[in-house]
Amino acid sequence: MQDPLVIGNTSLSSRLFIGTGKYSRNTLIPEVVARSGSQVITVALRRVDPGADEENIVSHIPDHMTLLPNTSGARTAEEAVRIARLARAGGLGNWVKIEVINDQKYLLPDNLETIKATEILAAEGFVVLPYMSPDLSAALRLRDAGAAAVMPLGSPIGSNRGLRTKELLRILIEEVKLPIIVDAGIGRPSEAAEAMEMGAAAVLLNTAIATARDPLGMAEAFREAVSAGRKAYLAGLGPVEEAAVASSPLTGFLGN
């Protein structure tokens, strides 16, 4: 069954987006890509060093991947815009994940600055994927500002705490007519599956794979979980009842 995720002009068959940070060595990245089946990979521009050979993170990313440079380190919209422009000028393509964080304690995104950066970059032709706190008004403004998708957090970055924002994610999925990509906080494949069952268009995760005892095995586990979650969503989950509903009713003999 064809079930592509279309973002910008790109059609993706995988709904698992991955990251490049926190690995014990960059040489793991190509195999993580292969085992995860992912087609989109985010990379912090602040880590990119074109002058370095082995240590240049981008040189470890397979050519077929869509690069999603992120603006990690930006504290304001202005900084995020500068980083995005630098990434495009540096040949990293025109996708960008807006990440504006001015809270170093919890690393929560600043939605207001994110909206401002999205407006500017979308107008400049970037495919903008903003990372955000799951707030409906902000998500609608991001949509109106030209975001190609919105990426609400499941729980704080790196926490592996799962879908703590589930109710808010559900509202975004129902109300924002854009792909919702759950980003940050997913620690287990079952949580990725749950996000997909809810109707998320994709999930983005890094820590859960990069800090697993066996990152390659975990990459594969997430591939299967995302796929299973998506299939369940498309198949339509059965209704949830408050009380037990017997398959063979006891009063069926009464007829109508």
């Binding site: 014990s24 602040r46 880590r47 240590e55 790196g158 592996n160 820590t207």
Partner: protein, 371 residues
């Protein structure tokens, strides 16, 4: 309001009885919490936490890997000048020592920069002795102009400046500030800083905050461990860090736990900080401030550094020289003796062998300015 007001209150705490009365149950409670209070920090630094170092280490490592992954940021210091007007009893650069002082010319700065950049490092920390006359802000600024051609991040460790001066350096391309209070205990501070502007405790204590106000992206603080009771010094350092983190959430606050090292003179501190104490300090820092950077210098011996890397450390120096021009010419007077003299490539190999990834570049403020 500055940290000084909090310090005035904190100094009144009955440290002796707190250390004495802390129990194993207090330590277990602190270990079970996600967000630690001031009292939890005291408990983790107390003798009662001694038997719990392994449990603290396991949690510290989990937190570090979750927040920082397997990455270890590398940098190296570059000494620009050793002129100093202070007399500090523990430092080779003290004005009382008679040795040929030097200051790098801009051409020499360029040579040093090229030599360091050739090792792959992109983060540099520049240092001077404390002398506004010999190493004025204008000189540091001129050096930064050269260094920004070679490095993506330039931090400073120089005498305390005013907020406008910090702003001037920020605009010149400096993005990080390191400034050690050396000693938080005020009476000891006055004893150890015999002469010179460094005797002004308050000016030094408030300088990291001025750096935050000026807009530096990262500010690194620390106490020189060994000068006074290490538990109290570590406690006040961590409280200072949390004060800054709470008040300036957009600035990355880091801590360093440097231990006293041999230098030109013969002063030896009263408080001996054992390896076990150092480990307890690092672990308490990590549990109290889960997202803060913790820097480990080459003051510690190689074998110990290799073990400490797994306890919460996120940044380390490599390929270090503590003398002016030490990366090219050498022959100067080191500020203190280092213990780990491994090269950048040796440190890189060691990190990979330990399952950690050396990160040479983790910021690019200079690149931002080009757009």
């Amino acid at each position: 309001m500055s940290f000084y007001e909090s310090l005035t209150r904190l100094e009144q705490l009955p440290f002796e009885s707190i250390w004495k009365e802390a129990t194993a149950a207090d330590v277990q409670r602190a270990l079970a919490k996600d967000w630690l209070t001031e009292m939890d920090l005291l408990v983790l630094l107390s003798p009662a936490a001694g038997p719990y170092l392994e449990a603290m280490a396991q949690k510290a490592q989990r937190l570090t890997r979750a927040h920082f992954g397997h990455a270890m940021q590398l940098f190296t210091p570059m000494y620009l000048a050793d002129f100093c007007v202070n007399h500090c009893t523990y430092c080779s650069f003290s004005s009382i020592y008679d040795f040929p002082r030097s200051k790098l010319t801009l051409e020499e700065v360029r040579r040093e920069a090229a030599a360091i950049a050739a090792t792959g490092l992109r983060h540099i920390l520049i240092l001077t002795g404390e002398s506004r006359r010999d190493n004025p802000v204008a000189y540091v600024k001129a050096c930064v102009e050269v260094l920004r051609e070679y490095f993506s991040s330039v931090s400073i460790e120089i005498n305390p400046l005013s907020a406008p001066e910090y702003k001037e350096l920020l605009e010149a391309g400096v993005d990080g500030l390191t400034l050690y209070q050396e000693v938080y205990h005020q009476a000891t501070y006055r004893e150890l800083h015999v002469k010179g502007p460094k005797r002004n405790y308050r000016n030094r204590l408030d300088a990291p905050e001025r750096g935050c106000q000026a807009g530096f992206r990262s500010v690194n603080i620390g106490a020189l461990l060994g000068m006074y009771d290490w538990r109290q010094e570590a406690f006040l350092t961590a409280m200072d860090a949390r004060y800054l983190q709470d008040k300036y959430p957009d600035c990355e606050i880091s801590l360093s736990p440097p231990r006293f090292r041999p230098y030109l003179g013969d002063f030896s501190p009263e408080s001996d900080v054992t390896d076990r104490a150092l480990v307890q300090i690092i672990l308490a820092y990590r549990l109290f401030l889960p997202r803060s950077g913790i820097t480990l210098s080459t003051r510690e011996p190689a074998a110990l550094r290799d073990h400490l890397l797994h306890l919460g450390i996120t940044k380390m120096s490599a390929g270090v020289s503590t003398e002016v021009g030490g990366h090219t010419s050498g022959g100067g007077t080191p500020q203190f003796e280092i213990s780990d003299s491994r090269t950048v490539s040796e440190i890189t190999e060691m990190l990979y062998a330990q399952g950690l990834q050396p990160v040479f570049k983790d910021w690019d403020m200079l690149g931002l300015e080009r757009v």
